[in-house]
Symmetry: C2
Subunit: 385 residues, 2 copies
């Protein structure tokens, strides 16, 4: 198995891009990644996208996006794992290079979620849950994560204020990210007084609806220094795991088994422990998700995610900065692109080009990208070369 | 790169399975493949599916199907490449094993197309074309393939009768396949007098709307003989290529460049020529498609596909039998499953268990699976071990 490096990254400013179709949003980011890497061609492509069929009436993104990027006839495949589609696309590119099938691979993600037909974003997103046993009965994602939040508050005494602290921290980080959709800072009071969505979650506990794309260029590590204009970053582990699609099938709502298992695999592959990680981008689709995930990744003990957030442990200057990009909360959450966006933040940090949000001496970073109510999780660990 | 073998295959009878949800259709086939192989566990899964979001309001099949097969937390990813989704899923499983990431991988495909909501199959299938520049103006797939048929008839003198011969041959083969949706034999007269869909294509030139699934178990070739109950089959090449998504962007409607390029790659990887192939399963979504594809695969010269079909060259007892399973035409076309179904026919033939439709001395078989109007094509070549 060949070692794999990231030699270029690119993403456009995320937001409500009403004037841009999906194909343009993707191609913009892809060109930025190609330019950033300096490569003169690519051998294959993987594109994460959750639900372009429902959102914009367009499946077959493999053909569409290779075509509009001007690179057909190279192979291009669309990868879907709900909100973990981007992370799953990175994993496919990783295997493509690792196996020796391709040398220079573009991995990307895209979602066009605003100004679309197809029943609206809440319906489209609900297709990541169990349609027949959850959605049919009226459950949507804020409701599912609200159940997790209530359970965590009940079992571990996590407070409403601690949930809000996740949003405060991530918007503080996002205010330093020029590509973030909502760079506005928020306060605990503002989060706690925002509109109630699904008790206890309020609108400022929820990640937004976003149009956006993100791309990265991978190649064999041994070719990276020769090909790359900038310091390459090695992908030292890729872990992927699943859980029951329906929340009601799980024994415990306060832990996400796919995250636990994907992280176990990734740590084993990288031969590292949680304490070796310098910073992480995690899937804060709702504030409670970040609290549960930092526990399941082993950064803190089970039940202590809220307290750790409150203490500043996961802040930019904390022991393990989490979501320095602003996370899904502030940077935005174009679902298929999110996993690749996380990778981009880690690359910027490991290259030392994260500007005002730079983490000092960042050498090893982790991404955790999940789909549905945690039914799929992809974890990658990256190291500066 | 490790060599990869197929050690088990399984598919249920395809048709209008109104009483079965998507998850049951898939799990039935997956269990048949696992049983056929004799393995006691699987390490990861890839599921090809084109449009479950539109058809049944369900994305995130990775989590759903690993869950319902009872194998979570193993990684499971849904792969989409329109009607080439199944072939693309096989390719991902091939890379997973080849790279050394996983040993025992289930690759499958599924589509639930009948008794569904979501605007009907014609709308859902149209999302494989260019939504903004083709579909919006009213084009659907029978229309696109009718343009190719007219062009081929004009340039090469291909006759209406020759188109019909493809259907006659494939239904003849399908009549020998107990799993085929439409095993009825048809005559040239019957095809030519069937309802006109998009001139010159009639309904018996078109593949049907189908519910179905197909699965296969892959492992490293070196482990295959030890693990497998039956003779293993080696995947000696995987080629994938794209073309413009819109038909109107192509210089010539009588050739499918993605098929030409994917086949070139596959022949090179296998170190074989078209004349080395003993039999092939090709993507006869419409009769004209088979004629163009057998030319683009190099089995006959450009323009001679119609004549070759008429002469019996591609019949069960011909020089190069094509679509011995009945093809999409007779066996059915559950779009995400089709590419894996093709693989299954080749495995049965190379194992010598194809019964009444067995090709004598079959040693090397090829599958060609395409999406849209040929915007994506995946070609695999298999050899008896």
């Amino acid at each position: 198995m060949r070692d794999v490096a990231i030699i270029g990254v690119g993403m456009n400013k995320w937001g409500e891009l009403w004037q841009k179709p999906l194909r343009d949003i993707f191609v913009e980011s892809a060109l930025l990644a190609i330019e950033d890497s300096g490569v003169d061609h690519i051998d294959s492509m993987y594109v994460g996208c959750m639900s372009s069929g429902i959102f914009v009436g367009q499946e077959h993104l493999g053909s569409l996006l290779a075509d509009y990027l001007g690179v057909n006839p190279i192979p291009c495949t669309r990868i879907e794992s709900a909100c973990a589609s981007g992370g799953a696309a990175v994993r496919m590119g990783f295997m493509d290079v690792a196996s020796g099938m391709s040398d220079i691979v573009l991995v990307g993600g895209v979602e066009k979620m605003t100004d679309v037909s197809g029943g609206g974003a809440t319906y489209a997103l609900s297709t990541a849950a169990d349609q027949e046993y959850e959605v049919y009965h009226g459950v949507t994602f804020p409701g599912l994560y609200a159940l997790m939040a209530r359970s965590h508050m009940h079992q571990y005494g996590t407070s409403r204020e601690q949930l809000a602290q996740v949003a405060v921290k991530n918007h503080e980080n996002g205010s330093k990210n020029p590509l973030a959709q909502y760079p506005q800072k928020v306060t605990v009071e503002k989060v706690m007084n925002s509109i109630l969505i699904a008790d206890p979650l309020r609108i400022l506990d929820c990640s937004p609806i976003t149009d956006g794309a993100a791309c990265a260029i991978l190649c064999p590590a041994e070719m990276a220094k020769k090909l790359s204009k900038k310091p390459p970053v090695k992908i030292i582990a890729s872990g992927h795991a699943t859980d029951t699609i329906a929340l009601h099938s799980r024994k415990d709502f306060t832990t996400l088994n796919a995250t636990v298992k994907a992280a176990e695999k990734a740590y084993k592959m990288a031969n590292l422990k949680p304490e070796d990680i310098n910073l992480a981008e995690v899937h804060d689709c709702f504030t409670i998700a970040e609290i549960i995930v930092i526990e399941d990744l082993g950064f803190v003990k089970k039940g202590e995610g809220g307290k750790a957030t409150e203490s500043g442990m996961t802040a930019l200057d904390g022991k393990i900065p989490v979501n320095t990009s602003g996370g899904l909360k502030s940077k935005g959450h174009p679902v298929g692109a999110t996993g690749v966006g996380q990778l981009i933040e880690i690359v910027h940090q490991l290259r030392g080009e994260a500007g005002q949000r730079q983490v000092k001496d960042a050498k090893i970073g982790l991404t955790q990208n999940m789909g549905g109510s945690g039914g799929s999780t992809v974890v990658h660990i990256m190291q500066a070369m």
